[in-house]
Amino acid sequence: MTAGAIRLEQLSISHGTKRVVHAIDLAIQPGEFVCLLGPSGCGKTTTLRAIAGLNRVESGRVEIDGILANELPAHRRNIAMVFQDLALFPHMTVAQNIAFGLALRKVPAAETRQRIGEMLALLHLEGLQERLPRQLSGGQQQRVAIARSLVVRPAVLLLDEPFAALDRKLREEMRREIRALQRRLGLTVVFVTHDQEEALTLADRVVVMNQGVIEQAGPPDAIYETPASRFVLDFVGQTNFLAVTRAGEGLRLAGEPVTAAGACLAGDALQIALRPERLRIAIAAPTLANRLPGQIDEIAYEGALVTYQVALQDGQRLLLREANVGDGERRRLGDRVTLEWRAEDTLLIGEA
């Protein structure tokens, strides 16, 4: 069996008297890249720290490679972790930081030097080995933290929002690198983030958490296309929620009939949910199942994309996003338009 399997069974964790993780079940395969996604306070970091052995398990099981690890102290788990604040040892050079875990494993000096060299090459840190962490840029510090974790050749790498402090370009670069490293080394990665775009881009499987429970776990496209709950739909991506009324068998939005053939989710009020990019502005005769008149009352020009806010006749507003392909005419504020979208892209939120 390849190493790196993690299994959480009915895992519950409390901070003091407050329970932050409620009986969650999750099985992670060796070599899988899993993102724990959720708003702050949803229990994702707590779960990660329980896998690392930094949080006490209240009830349930944490299994690593089939062995119960609830009481196994952090320093005996052979799991690596990159912390949100990186936690580079400020009094040690880059090389000493990387060597820390090797010295504890009694790796001989020659091999230590060789493995540090490998890590420096792997993470593009050549020539920086004698620097102190504070003499490095944010991106370099990031790489040192990853090198320090990977040099001990763990089967599991845990990352706690490691790229949150980086600017956008660097963040995207680091994402590509961590993904490439994970594939190359066959690592099991558990990555905590509150950034849904990051989770969708990186993960084999996204685990959406909210208030200490798992709302949905699945591949990124399943999370986005077939959300299991209103929370997932709302948290992952952007969504228009529009109040509708029942009229006999059918539904009406702003007085017009609409058909919903997408999933039905539980909610507090009768609504339909539409993703902005699944809406379009009809140019010729409308061809899709649903159509509705509206008026553009705000335009956000984003370069590659243009987002329009459209007011419906009953005063409800929705967002519509188009790729800026450059062939159509540019819409202007106040333009009257006809929106259209497919019945399959219309999700129904019911009181039941």
Binding site: A74, H75, A80, A87, F89, F100, R105, R148, S149, V152
Partner: protein, 272 residues
């Protein structure tokens, strides 16, 4: 060009008050330094001449020389005890949550709050009861207690501002708790420990009140200074004081240079 003043209407007043407060703090020291070079035994201010003879007198009197050695010994010993105990205590109260923690935090600060006369009397009764009559040991123990709150304050402030994740990272990398403490925690709080050591040394070196209760045969420097001044009024004491001021100043500058007060005091006091 005039600098923009974001709080108008105060003008020069705050600056003048600051200067006045600083002068008030520094003035006594300057007076002492000036008196110490007055050649007459009457200790005139302002001095009516210039002489180093009181310095010579201070350093050649055996009583002062012995007292200085004794003070150094006690201050070094007390600082060492306070440093070790203070580091361990700080680590426990900052990094752990346990029942009665608030009480421990208060107790650790108590010697700083209680009037020294009360402390001195307490020690005197305690040591007499325990039939401990060794003056050196008694004074050393008492000074260790007096200096401990200072060490705890400085070190725990330092510990509070260091990321807990450093220790966690070491654990996850495979270091046991003890090794983590040695290899990570101690080196990281080293600035705080240096400062704590200097503070503890100075507090012990300066102490008069508690020491006065416990002195039997040999006295510390402040005690000797006091007994000298009761019979003599020449500027010898001013000379010693000037040397002490210079030594303290050097110590403080050293701490500032090595560590920086900002790094020690940021994060402030202890939360309970």
């Amino acid at each position: 060009m005039r600098r923009f003043d974001p709080i108008p209407g105060l003008g020069l007043t705050p600056r003048l008050l600051t200067v006045a407060a600083c002068l008030l703090l520094v003035l006594p020291h300057i007076v002492v330094a000036l008196v110490s070079v007055d050649p007459s035994p009457a200790a005139h201010f302002p001095p009516q001449g210039f002489s180093f003879k009181w310095y010579l007198n201070a350093f050649t009197r055996p009583a002062f020389r012995e007292a200085l050695g004794f003070s150094m010994l006690v201050a070094l010993g007390a600082a060492a005890i306070a440093l070790v105990a203070g580091t361990l205590a700080s680590w426990f109260i900052v990094r752990h949550r346990f029942p009665g923690r608030g009480l421990v935090v208060t107790l650790l600060q108590l010697p700083m709050m209680i009037p020294e006369v009360v402390l001195g009397l307490g020690f005197l009764i305690l040591f007499a009861r325990a039939q401990l009559y060794a003056s050196v040991l008694n004074i050393l123990l008492a000074h260790a207690v007096i200096t401990l709150p200072y060490a705890v304050r400085v070190i725990s402030a330092n510990l509070q501002t260091t990321q807990r994740s450093l220790e966690e990272a070491a654990l996850v990398l495979g270091a046991g708790p003890l090794r983590t403490f040695w290899k990570i925690t101690l080196p990281v709080i080293q600035p705080g420990m240096i400062a704590a050591g200097v503070f503890a040394f100075v507090v012990s070196f300066d102490n008069f009140t508690v020491t006065a209760f416990l002195v039997t045969t040999r006295g510390t420097l402040p005690i000797e200074i006091y007994s000298y001044i009761r019979t003599e009024s020449d500027p010898t004491i001013a000379a010693i004081s000037t040397v002490l001021i210079l030594v303290s100043l050097t110590g403080l500058l050293l701490v500032e240079r090595l560590v920086g007060f900002g790094r020690i005091t940021q994060g402030g006091g202890l939360d309970k």
